[in-house]
């Protein structure tokens, strides 16, 4: 009897235990479900944000299904559609490579396919064609998306229009080329002109000596008189060669136009920026933005600026602690503006100061000695002066003046 009672009690206890356990389990399940619902909600929010982000970015984004043959597009964002000029309906489900059209560079397309088939990322710049046939340059990056087993399931691509950047770079390159060409021609012309002058001096003396001798010997020494005539003839032949050479390399007349010197400086510095950056130098500007316009030849003045800046950079080459190049513009007086190119380099040796602007004078092992003399003649042709001095602390300062454009003239 006592056992029976004990047994009953046990059974009841067990029953209660079971119920308790089941209740706990139920509670935890309910909690799990509730958490699951929360997680899903968060996940959905995240997907929404990511989709929105992809739809709003200005870069073109597309997704290709890698599991199906023919690289079908399964997603494209609006930026991609406007980039290539097709609507969503026209391209979803279509082969990605078909949108390149037949004009695309087949080698690049082949390279992209190869890279994708190896399961690698492709990154490159290429020429594309819109639906309308209009060309555009773009930067393209295609990356494989893998599942947990490492199998490529999708490719995601990002494409950006780089046409404007490319055009700008091309323009800068063209301007740089033009400037270099003009500089080379200018140097040659200046060289020939100097040479012609140097040679015409002795030719003048020879001619006068020979003609004086002819006058003294006339009727006395017919044979010597004849020889002197040969000397005179050959002297004039040499003079004719020089005359023709000079004519050939005649400097073209400068094309004067109203210019903003600060804009010109900015343009010129843009041209040689890669040069400056690669040398670890810094250009500082102190430009007076209230300066009036000047009348000048754009290319010629750029030549002067380029020459002064590259001279300064060379002067700072030697010492690693000279970093700074300063370009300053200011109003000199009521008629003139002033441009200064100030470096922190080695400065000008006292014995070179006088000879700086002389033709063929150079302190550089590979220099021609033309740069500064050409620069000075350009500035003088503009009605200004180009001078140089050493700074009180370190380096040199090359400065030139230019007359202000007078209103109602020209």
């Amino acid at each position: 009897m006592k056992n029976k009672i004990i047994k009953k009690k046990e059974t009841r206890n067990n029953l209660e235990e079971t119920i308790r356990n089941q209740t706990d389990e139920l509670k935890s399940k309910t909690g799990q479900i509730k958490r699951g619902v929360d997680r899903e909600k968060i996940a959905q929010e995240q997907i929404l944000i990511r989709t929105k982000a992809m739809e709003s970015t200005t870069d073109g984004i597309f997704i290709i299904d890698a599991t199906k043959p023919g690289f079908p597009l399964i997603y494209t964002n609006p930026s991609f559609q406007s980039l290539i000029g097709y609507s969503k309906n026209e391209i979803i489900g279509k082969n990605y490579f078909l949108i390149y059209g037949s004009d695309a560079d087949s080698r690049v397309v082949e390279e992209i396919k190869q890279t994708m088939s190896r399961g690698e990322s492709f990154h490159g710049e290429m020429l594309n064609f819109r639906k309308s046939g209009k060309k555009f340059w773009s930067s393209l990056r295609i990356t494989p998306v893998r599942d947990t087993k490492g199998e490529t399931t999708h490719y995601v691509g990002i494409q950006t229009d780089t046409t404007l950047m490319k055009q700008r770079n091309l323009e800068i390159e063209e301007q740089r080329e033009e400037l270099l060409h003009v500089t080379r021609v200018g140097k040659l012309a200046e060289f020939v002109s100097s040479l012609a002058h140097e040679i015409s001096q002795p030719l003048t003396a020879i001619l006068a000596y020979a003609q004086a001798a002819q006058r003294l010997l006339k009727d006395k020494e017919p044979k010597v008189y004849e020889i002197l005539q040969y000397i005179i003839n050959d002297d004039q032949r040499a003079a004719e060669v020089i005359r023709r050479l000079r004519y050939l390399l005649k400097k073209s007349k400068p094309a004067f136009e109203p210019l903003d010197i600060n804009v010109l400086i900015n343009d010129t510095v843009t041209l040689i920026m890669p040069h400056i950056a690669s040398r670890n130098k810094v250009i500082k500007f102190e430009l007076d933005t209230t300066l009036p316009q000047i009348m000048g030849d754009r290319i010629q003045l750029q030549q002067v600026l380029l020459n002064l800046i590259s001279n300064s950079l060379e002067a700072m080459e030697a010492s690693s602690d000279s970093l700074e190049l300063m370009i300053r513009t200011s109003r000199k007086d009521s008629d003139m503006i002033m441009v200064e190119v100030k470096d922190s380099g080695s400065g000008i040796a006292a014995e070179n100061m006088q000879k700086l602007f002389v033709h063929f004078f150079t302190s550089k092992p590979d220099g021609l000695g033309m740069g500064l003399s050409i620069s000075r003649s350009i500035v003088e042709a503009h009605g200004g002066r180009l001078e140089a001095e050493n700074n009180s602390d370190r380096g040199a300062n090359f400065y030139f003046t230019l007359p202000i454009k007078i209103k109602n003239s020209q």
Partner: protein, 205 residues
């Protein structure tokens, strides 16, 4: 030709020597200088002369010398010579009154042709100078009253006008005027006015 003197300014001594030899063999008197300053400090002859001038010179270049000469009243005709013969430069030189512009090297004939022109210009200038000196000398003989009348006449005023301006009789003015004509050795009033212009007489205001 014997009394003509030719100045040569060129910084190249060999050109100076060669041109001097050439001109001396043609019978000219020649003075050479390798810089403008030396030419300026030289005592220039009163004889007919011309200057053969290089453009590129140290310190004072040819154009600057041309200006200085004009300022100082040195009226020697200039023939420019240059090894940088370009047209804008020659235009500038001719506008400033140069006789000719010869690119180097130049022949004897070209140089002599230019010099003939320069020397005849120099002679005309000298003649003018002599005439001016003569007129000025005659002006010095005028009394203050006569000089006054001379000035009025030079301005084209009639006897009547002069008389009313001076507050004297017409007769007195006529007498003064007759004496001016006589002292100035002028045959007509027109000639008298020419004399006044040549002498650079400033009109009374």
């Amino acid at each position: 030709m014997n009394n003509v003197i030719v100045y040569v300014v060129d910084d190249d001594p060999s050109i100076c020597r060669a041109v001097a030899l050439l001109l001396k063999s043609n019978g000219f008197r020649v003075e050479t200088f390798t810089q403008a300053e030396d030419f300026l400090s030289f005592k220039h002859s009163k004889a007919p002369s011309c200057l053969i001038l290089d453009i590129r010179l140290p310190h004072i270049n040819g154009f600057a010398l041309q200006e200085i000469m004009a300022e100082r009243g040195i009226s020697i005709p200039i023939i420019f010579i240059t090894g940088h013969g370009d047209i804008p430069m020659s235009v500038k030189a001719m506008k400033a009154g140069a006789v000719d512009f010869l690119p180097k090297p130049f022949t004897e004939k070209k140089l002599l042709d230019a010099m003939t022109l320069a020397i005849s210009k120099s002679k005309v200038q000298n003649k003018k100078q002599i005439e001016i000196t003569k007129i000025r000398d005659r002006i010095k003989t005028l009394s203050p009253r006569e000089l006054e009348v001379f000035n009025f006449v030079a301005q084209g005023m009639l006897n009547k006008q002069i008389a009313s301006k001076r507050g004297t009789s017409l007769q007195t003015i006529k007498v003064h005027r007759g004496r001016v004509m006589q002292k100035m050795q002028a045959k007509t009033v027109t000639e008298l006015i020419h004399f006044a212009q040549k002498a650079g007489l400033t009109p009374l205001s």
